[in-house]
């Protein structure tokens, strides 16, 4: 298949448009086969990202959970929230604390999470996060008594918080340094 770059750009744009999930490089490869190399696709994706970042557009192309997805721009939020079908995401403080710990310490057991929070019972927060599919039970800790479950974040976690992957999270030291800075 010999495709002009312009043509390819249109196809890529369309593929992302029709997809319900972030479209990753694997999907593009599946569609195009070996006929088009990845660097060309990546280049086009960058172009599209740039194009949609223009203030003329209501949505933009974002890299999230290992793929590309069209999302509305933040400034449109107050308008879109008026549509009843969108029920806003809400997070309690405790759920966010637990989620933050899991994000950085995964796979982590409930006991470890609770120790890091000063012994607060975290079962309710874990349950909420599991229901929201932001975390999952990823295994068991075999060397701990009772072989407790371990928890990890999910792909949905990346999608909800707009992260490319886990390495997109700033290193934890950055959050500790900030504190030092405040003190000094």
């Amino acid at each position: 298949m010999n495709m002009e770059r312009e043509e390819l750009r249109k196809v890529i744009e369309g593929l992302i448009f029709v997809s319900d999930e972030p479209v990753n490089e694997k999907t593009f490869q599946k569609v195009f086969g070996d006929s088009i190399d990845l660097s060309t696709i990546r280049g086009i994706l960058e172009e599209l990202k740039l194009e949609y970042s223009s203030p003329l557009h209501g949505f933009e192309l974002v890299e999230v959970a290992g793929g590309y997805q069209f999302r509305t721009k933040k400034e449109l939020g107050e308008w879109i929230r008026k549509l009843e079908k969108f029920q806003p995401q809400r997070f309690s403080r405790s759920a966010m604390e637990v989620l933050s710990i899991i994000a950085y310490k995964q796979p982590v057991t409930r006991a470890e999470i609770e120790a890091m929070r000063g012994g607060i019972d975290s079962s309710g927060a874990l349950k909420t996060l599991l229901l929201k599919k932001l975390i999952k039970i990823s295994g068991r800790k075999h060397d701990a008594p009772g072989r407790p479950f371990t928890y990890s974040t999910t792909r949905k976690f990346l999608e909800v918080f707009g992260l490319k992957d886990l390495s997109d999270l700033p290193p934890i030291e950055e959050f500790m340094k900030r504190e030092e800075g405040k003190e000094g």
Binding site: F86, S100, G118, E179, E183
Partner: protein, 251 residues
């Protein structure tokens, strides 16, 4: 003393609050002072009839322990580890995770700040239907029979069930709206006889190509779909109603 008590997420949260309020250095916390204040807060909470969770008490014990060890350390001449070390490290990590939580909440959160095109919801016409065969229908009937509540008391009763009536019913239901969910059609059907009559009616109408039975994806909703073919009342005359001639029935 009037204490305005903030809501604390736990003992660490409370300690961080006290450190910040007093502008203490987190790496050099004056343990006796903070223990004193911590206990005062617990006292105030108790006076307000607030339930004090165990972890607050556990922390109070830990603080007192550290306080004692600090005193012992001052007296001894040996170089020993700072008794506050573990607590400081716990506090610093906890503080960091609280910042992580703030960081996450400041992101452009899906369905709070940014939104997606909702997943495809096609209209009935555009949906990809699979046409069901009479044998599919038989399987379906088996399924419905299984789900139907079995009467606890068995009464032998001769019911007069008319396939013709069911046909008329289906025709009537599909005249205005072109489609009707199968479920809706058999809704309220109490006896097996009636269900069988419905199935026979559907089969007959399928044979005459007046209706089609379609299903979207396996285990999806089953719909009765009226075709373009004209329904002629004359057809009813040919239907055998359990030995009776259906057409002779009057309503």
């Amino acid at each position: 003393m009037r204490v305005n008590l903030p809501i604390f997420e736990g003992p660490l949260d409370m300690l961080l609050y006290l450190i910040k309020k007093n502008e203490f250095d987190i790496f050099d916390i004056p343990i006796s002072q903070i223990t004193q204040e911590y206990l005062e807060y617990l006292d105030a909470m108790e006076k307000l009839n607030m339930e004090i969770a165990t972890e607050f008490i556990v922390m109070a014990v830990k603080l007192l322990q550290i306080k004692v060890m600090m005193l012992l350390r001052e007296e001894s001449e040996e170089e020993t580890e700072d008794p506050r070390k573990d607590l400081v490290s716990t506090l610093i990590f906890y503080q960091a995770f609280k910042e992580v939580a703030d960081f996450l909440l400041s992101r452009e959160i899906l369905n709070r700040d940014v939104f997606l095109k909702p997943p495809e919801k096609r209209s009935v016409e555009e949906e990809v239907w699979t046409e069901l065969s009479p044998s599919d229908l038989m399987l379906l009937m088996k399924d419905i029979l299984k789900r139907m509540k079995k009467p606890s008391v068995h009464e032998v009763e001769i019911e007069k069930v008319s396939v013709v009536e069911k046909i008329k019913f289906i025709i009537e239901k599909t005249t205005e709206k072109k489609t009707i969910p199968f479920e809706e059609l058999v809704e309220g059907v109490q006896s097996i006889m009636h269900l069988i009559a419905f199935i026979l009616a559907i089969l007959e109408l399928m044979r005459l190509q007046i209706i089609k039975v379609v299903q979207m994806r396996p285990f999806g909703k089953i719909m009765i779909y009226r075709t373009e073919k004209k329904f002629d009342e004359e057809i009813l005359k040919g239907i055998d109603e359990y030995g009776e001639r259906g057409a002779q029935e009057s309503n």
